[in-house]
């Protein structure tokens, strides 16, 4: 593979990194590099600038939450990271969005290989209308694993990682649409994990779930913290404070503040952030 754009920007400046990490949370070894970094990055829908010149570094293997009122561009930003916005014909970007120091929107980037490395879980659980096994095996099969035994291994490992193995191990051949909403969402996480991504993007993963299922997903995120770089968009500020290490606050397409979760929720620097987290507006 030809590494055309050499990794000039990584690793990130050590000085700024610490502000993202809350002191009371467990440190992760190896989690000290910038995994994804945006530089003056803007996203347009036609003429409309949905995300405005965002610059930020996202650290490897930590959980980063993105909060903000609806329509603030947080989902758009998240979807830009694995180029899901390509589905919208009028969407285009300026600035740079780097993953491992390589431009995601570079001329020679293959979005298919990129998406294999950056997995995504969506707002509504979206299992395929196939069996549970086939859902998990879909990704590995795409990437060339056809050996039944190996597939079984991957399926089991992924389901265990997503903490759903015990609930479905005896009905892997049943249609995935028969599962409950919470189970479906964990299945979707497992399906994403089965292709061994490095980054996990979660787009409001609990907004369609009941509180019990939500708690399970949050536990799962804690389990996965340290193994994957996780970014989660959420409406729910309590959820952001519970699960994340650092938090980004978006307002009208602008990244207003990016700090460690503890700091952002207890001592925000920006008055806008303060107003939002105290519920002056939403």
């Amino acid at each position: 593979m030809d590494a055309r754009e050499s990794s000039g920007s990584a690793p990130a400046q050590k000085a700024t990194r610490d502000i993202y990490l809350p002191p009371e949370r467990r440190k992760i070894s190896g989690g000290d590099t910038t995994h994804i970094s945006a530089k003056e990055f803007s996203i347009y829908y036609g003429e409309f600038e949905a995300v405005k010149r965002v610059s930020a570094d996202i650290l490897s293997k930590y959980v980063t939450a993105i909060i903000g009122p609806s329509g603030c561009g947080k989902s758009t930003f998240l979807r830009a990271i694995n180029r899901m916005n390509d589905l919208i014909p009028s969407c285009h970007t300026t600035g740079a969005l780097l993953f491992d120091g390589q431009d995601i929107y570079g001329k020679f980037t293959d979005e298919v290989l990129l998406r294999k490395k950056i997995g995504m879980v969506f707002q509504k659980p979206n299992p395929f209308p196939k069996s549970i096994f086939d859902n998990i095996a879909y990704g590995p099969r795409l990437h060339g694993v056809n050996d039944k035994k190996k597939l079984m291994e991957i399926v089991e490992r992924s389901l265990k990682k997503a903490a759903i193995w015990d609930e479905v191990c005896d009905r892997l051949d049943k249609n995935a649409l028969g599962l409950s909403g919470g189970q479906q969402q964990r299945l979707c996480v497992a399906r994403t994990l089965a292709v061994e991504p490095e980054v996990l993007l979660l787009d409001e993963p609990t907004s369609a779930l009941d509180p019990k299922a939500t708690a399970k997903i949050e536990d799962l995120i804690q389990e996965l913290r340290g193994s994957y770089t996780i970014m989660i968009v959420t409406h729910n500020m309590q959820q952001a404070s519970r699960v994340s290490d650092s938090t980004m606050f978006f307002y009208e397409g602008v990244l207003v503040e990016h700090a460690s979760t503890a700091q952002l929720f207890t001592n925000p620097k920006d008055t806008m952030t303060e107003d939002y987290i105290t519920g002056r507006f939403s």
């Binding site: 694995n82 899901m84 589905l87 014909p89 298919v112 290989l113 990129l114 998406r115 294999k116 490395k117 997995g119 995504m120 969506f122 509504k124 979206n126 299992p127 395929f128 209308p129 879909y138 990704g139 795409l142 990437h143 649409l177 979707c188 399906r191 994403t192 292709v195």
Partner: protein, 448 residues
């Protein structure tokens, strides 16, 4: 207007709407019920010994011993008829010349009616056409012929202002005073013993080929021809239609070209079916020379372009109905666009696409106009699979027209026509019913 009148108007408005749906349902019943009841008669009917004779000698089917004993018992009763005929013929010779001439023409009519009823009489030369080799094979037809034998039909033209009316004169009366007068009550009373009617189930109607242009035998060549044409059309149109639908839904960008293609699609859907037939003749046969003259392949191609718009539209709808989330999920797992279409979208849309395909198959099977000039012949035997590139075929739709409108004895073989219509209608309605069931199951599945 006062409120009472407004309410009456409202109710009657509802009644008109419901009424028109009821009228449609009733119309459907009025069309379908006689077709079903009469069509079933082609397979289940009261058959006579003549039917069994025909089956044995034309198709080598039936039990020869049982048949010969039946024939023997019927001949016992027929022998008396023949006796009376020879007796009268002898009597005829003894009559005065002018009387003889008068009776002779009347006697010829009687003989002809008797031939129609019982088959060739002794002394007749062996008939050329198979239809004259046997008497009436169906009991209800035999009863009609018995009436023809007993009564002479005449037309009353006395009043020039109204249409002339048919009335009947007993033949027995006109033979009063001769020895033949005994024949009429004898035949009337003993017809049952001469023809031995019994309930018959003739599945061969579906699987046999026809004998003497559908006087006897079945409709297998037509069923097979319809099958070849419809399936052949699907082989061309289905893959092409699905691929085109994939293009329209997944790749086409809005613009002038795209809207032109869509207009072309709806134009093609609106072309009258007879024009497809002319195009098939002018293009596939006269220009492309896919075959020397009419052939199955030319007909199938013509039908294919006729059903193409329907398939494209159904496939498009089915693909658009696949939730967007499937697409996103597949792409986010690192699947290519093409892979996503092949492994997620098409399988999820498959039932819907198949529904459209099944309905189009029914349409291809039922259409007549496009195959008149390209594929259909009125008489012919079933063709082999290898002949589809060179020879035309009989087909149900075309032969229904042909037998009902152009056959030289259309009114005598109504049961065959009904049987054909029933076969065609049930093929088409079965296909449509399965499409309806398929769709109901899809919508249930999508609901959860």
């Amino acid at each position: 207007m006062n409120i009472g009148t407004r309410k009456i108007l409202d109710r009657s408005f509802t009644a008109v709407g419901i009424g028109s749906i009821i009228v449609m349902a009733v119309a459907l019943m009025i069309v379908v019920v006689p077709i079903i009841t009469n069509g079933i008669g082609a397979v289940f009917f009261t058959g006579t010994v003549e039917h069994r004779k025909m089956l044995f000698s034309e198709f080598k089917r039936g039990d020869s011993e049982g048949l010969s004993s039946e024939v023997a018992s019927s001949e016992r009763y027929r022998a008396k008829v023949y006796e009376m005929l020879t007796g009268f013929e002898a009597e005829l010779e003894t009559m005065a010349p002018e009387k003889k001439a008068e009776y002779k023409s009347k006697y010829a009519q009687v003989r002809a009616a008797l031939q129609a009823l019982l088959g060739p009489l002794p002394g007749d030369s062996a008939p050329m056409l198979t239809r004259f080799k046997y008497g009436q094979t169906r009991w209800e037809k035999a009863e009609e012929k018995l009436h023809d034998f007993l009564y002479e039909s005449k037309w009353d033209n006395s009043n020039p202002d109204v249409m002339s009316k048919e009335y009947f004169v007993s033949r027995a009366i006109s033979f009063q005073g001769t020895s033949l007068v005994k024949l009429f009550p004898y035949v009337k009373n003993n017809l049952e013993y001469m023809l031995l009617p019994e309930f018959t189930v003739y599945w061969g109607f579906i699987t046999d080929s026809s004998v003497d242009s559908h006087f006897f035998g079945g409709i297998w060549p037509e069923i097979q021809g319809t099958f070849f044409l419809a399936v052949g059309a699907m082989l061309f149109a289905f893959p092409l239609g699905v691929v085109a639908a994939v293009y329209f839904t997944e790749y086409a960008r809005p613009g002038f070209l795209n809207s032109m293609l869509r207009s072309a699609n709806s134009t093609l859907a609106g072309v009258p079916s007879i024009v497809f037939g002319m195009f098939g003749l002018a293009f596939f046969i006269n220009t492309m020379k896919v075959s020397e003259s009419k052939s199955v392949i030319a007909g199938a191609l013509t039908l294919a372009i006729m059903i193409l718009p329907t398939i494209i539209r159904a496939a498009e709808e089915a693909i658009l109905a696949v939730p967007k989330t499937y697409r996103e999920a597949s792409l986010s797992l690192g699947s290519t666009k093409w892979n996503t279409i092949a492994t997620v979208i098409l399988p999820a849309a498959l039932p819907g696409i198949l529904t459209g395909g099944v309905i189009s198959l029914g349409r291809a099977a039922g259409e007549t106009a496009p195959i008149i000039f390209t594929a259909a012949v009125s008489v012919g035997s079933a063709i082999g699979l290898a002949d589809v590139f060179s020879s035309p075929t009989p087909a149900l739709s075309w032969n229904i027209y042909n037998l009902a409108s152009e056959h030289e004895a259309a009114s005598q073989i109504r049961h065959v026509q009904y049987g054909m219509v029933l076969a065609l209608v049930s093929i088409v309605l079965m296909l449509n019913l399965s499409a309806i069931v398929l769709r109901a199951r899809i919508s249930k599945k999508l609901k959860g």
